[in-house]
Amino acid sequence: MMLRIAIIGCGKIADQHLLAFRRIGGGEVVALCDRELLMANQLGERFGVTACFADAAEMLRVVKPDVVHITTPPQGHFSLGKQCLEAGAHVYLEKPFTVTAPEAVELIRLAQSKNLKITAGHNYQFTLEMLEVRRLVSQDFLGGKPVHLESHWPYDLSDASYVGPILGSQTHWVRQLPGQLFHNLISHGIAKLAEFLGDDVKVTAHAHQSARLKNLNGQEVQDELRVLLCDENGTTAFFCFSTQVKPGQNYLRICGPKNSLFVDNSSGCLIRQNNQASKSYLIFFLPPLRNARQHLHNARVNAFNFITGRLHQDSGMKELIERFHQSIKTNGAPPIPYREIILTARIMDEVFAQIKAPAK
């Protein structure tokens, strides 16, 4: 079955979706849509798609796609997602899924009521090392439920092409989000925690503006965030978003009652931390050697995956899209459980309520 795919929102991220479709196969891009028709045209010109629209309703009516990938700023996700579902199309929504958790709940209910699939662009949960984490956790490597989790997510303020326009305009769409800069960037890091947490999560959040951002005339925008989480089972979690920590830390630590896992998402490395005691002074020699062996193993695995073409800069997105499209074709379970999408949105809502930025 060839899926007929449409994209709404022809900005930067749309390119990555189109490149992923090319690699996956099994689908044909039948339409591109952007409120600014020139944006749709430029993307169409580069990827050989001729059906370009400025109006989503018209696109849905004329083209009748099987699945729509919505890659607009998040403020449009809810209404566009609803429109697509009501027109009978499955929906892939880029992150953050919606602006608020109630919107996420409503969209998912609508999808379920129409027997359609919907997913969130939490592609970092589908990188090669994260797939391996999931496999190990499902095989009870941790020895029970996680006791504690840590997720670090970095952002580099020196990427002026992103930060410049945000700081340059109070009306920039990122500035209009309840959580501003955090809102557009933290969902990947929070979603990695939501996967391992229960539904009832208590949240304590703290945010502030770094001296660097202040120097860049950051006005009311905050860029340092710390969050403590605790679920109904007593599993705790810590989330850190930072623009200042160098080198940028992008990792997930999952501590279990028996063993633990450390995933460095920057370098695609997974370290198994086994509960192996060493006698006397051997504790100073054996654990470092075991870790060295694991790092060597990671380098070997990454080299092998690179040579065989599995390791790709966008391998997480390709994997997520492929699984989502497969779930549509087979009417199987969507790649990200709806519970996780809603929990991620709820945690974010609570974080933004607690850190409320000073009045604009």
């Binding site: 390119d15 430029q42 092409s161 700081l167 305009s169 790709h312 800069q313």
Partner: protein
């Protein structure tokens, strides 16, 4: 002042990107010519010390209007273009993504032109483009590059978002010229150098792998010193009888890549390796083929089109610039180079 000019000294002139590397020099050029009614468009986050220092040097600079805004906002464009006779459009965003480059170049230009046509007194729209729009793929090595040479027809294959944005920007300007009678001039500067821009042109080489790879070898560089380039841009805004024309901007006195690199190293030496063109071309072919075969596992940052455009080598001419705009090189090479190199000391 020119013997003939399409505008008077009191006509309102809008300069976008006026706080930028070339823009500030254009502002100074206009003030030095006695223009008294300037509107200077800058980004809200811009630090304006350099621009304000220039404005303080001239009486008319004190009354120049600084407008902060975003060219992607139609309202901001309307505020900027109201009652304007001439627009010198220099604003450029350096975006890695094609969509971002398109937005910052083409969409911003569309917004500005529409506001100009609606609310301005359209006398001249000067669109500052780039040599990045040219393709060199089917030209001989060291062929003469002038305004009639072929433009890049596959910027995506060249992996050049900036060039793509500039091509689309030129396309929009021409469309408005044809359909709406926009009086425009397009300028394509070569490699602009001067104080305030320490990075060497990619035509000299790249620093991608942690050390400098010199790829330009004995090629001529299309150098233009920032003040000489600003002179060309100002003339394009004023000179009658050049509507619809395109001009390449290069200085009379230029250097080879090797000479330019040696001058740069004479101030502060650094390690570099020279790769001859055939080897660079072979590497680009291999990289491009692997990138295609692997579905973009390696982005096609090195490819035949880029290699040809940047390192194959051309000869350059400013004949049209001199003859039609009456441009003369204001700053001689020795002085320009001295000023450029001073920033490393």
């Amino acid at each position: 002042m020119l013997a003939a000019s399409i505008v008077s000294l009191s006509d309102l002139i809008l300069v976008t990107g006026s706080n930028g590397f070339i823009g500030a020099s254009v502002v100074e050029n206009l003030l030095a010519r006695g223009f008294t009614n300037l509107r200077l468009f800058v980004r809200p986050s811009s630090k304006l010390e350099k621009l304000k220092a220039i404005l303080r040097k001239y009486p008319a600079g004190q009354t120049a209007e600084i407008v902060k805004g975003d060219l992607l906002s139609r309202e901001d464009c309307q505020s900027a273009a109201r009652d304007v006779a001439v627009i010198i459009h220099l604003a450029a965003g350096f975006e890695k993504s094609f969509a971002g480059a398109f937005m910052n170049s083409a969409l911003a230009t569309r917004n500005l032109i529409e506001a100009f046509l609606e609310l301005g007194r359209p006398t001249r729209f000067v669109n500052v483009s780039s040599f990045a729009v040219y393709s060199n793929l089917k030209m001989e090595r060291h062929a003469l590059l002038d305004e009639t040479c072929p433009l890049e027809d596959a910027p995506q294959e060249r992996h050049d978002a900036y060039g793509f944005g500039k091509l689309q920007q030129e396309k929009i300007v021409r469309q408005y010229g044809e359909k709406n009678g926009l009086p425009f001039v397009i300028l394509r500067p070569g490699a602009v150098y001067g104080p305030g821009k320490p990075d060497l042109s990619g035509r000299v080489g790249i620093n991608t792998f942690g050390f400098f790879i010199h790829l330009g070898g004995g090629n001529e560089l299309p150098l233009t010193y920032v003040d000489n380039c600003a002179e060309a841009i100002t003339l394009a805004a004023l000179q009658p009888g050049v509507d619809g024309e395109t001009f390449n901007v290069v200085d009379d006195e230029i250097l080879t890549s090797r000479e330019f690199l040696a001058a740069r190293k004479s101030v502060k030496p650094f390690f570099s390796i020279w790769i001859p063109y055939p080897l660079a071309y072979l590497g680009s072919v291999l990289w491009e083929n692997y990138s295609k075969k692997s579905g973009g596992q390696l982005p096609p940052v090195f490819n035949r089109r880029r290699c040809a455009a940047e390192w194959q080598g051309n000869r350059y001419t400013n004949k049209k610039l001199r003859e039609r705009l009456g441009w003369k090189q204001k700053v001689p090479l020795a002085e320009a180079l001295k000023s450029f190199l001073a920033q490393y000391q």
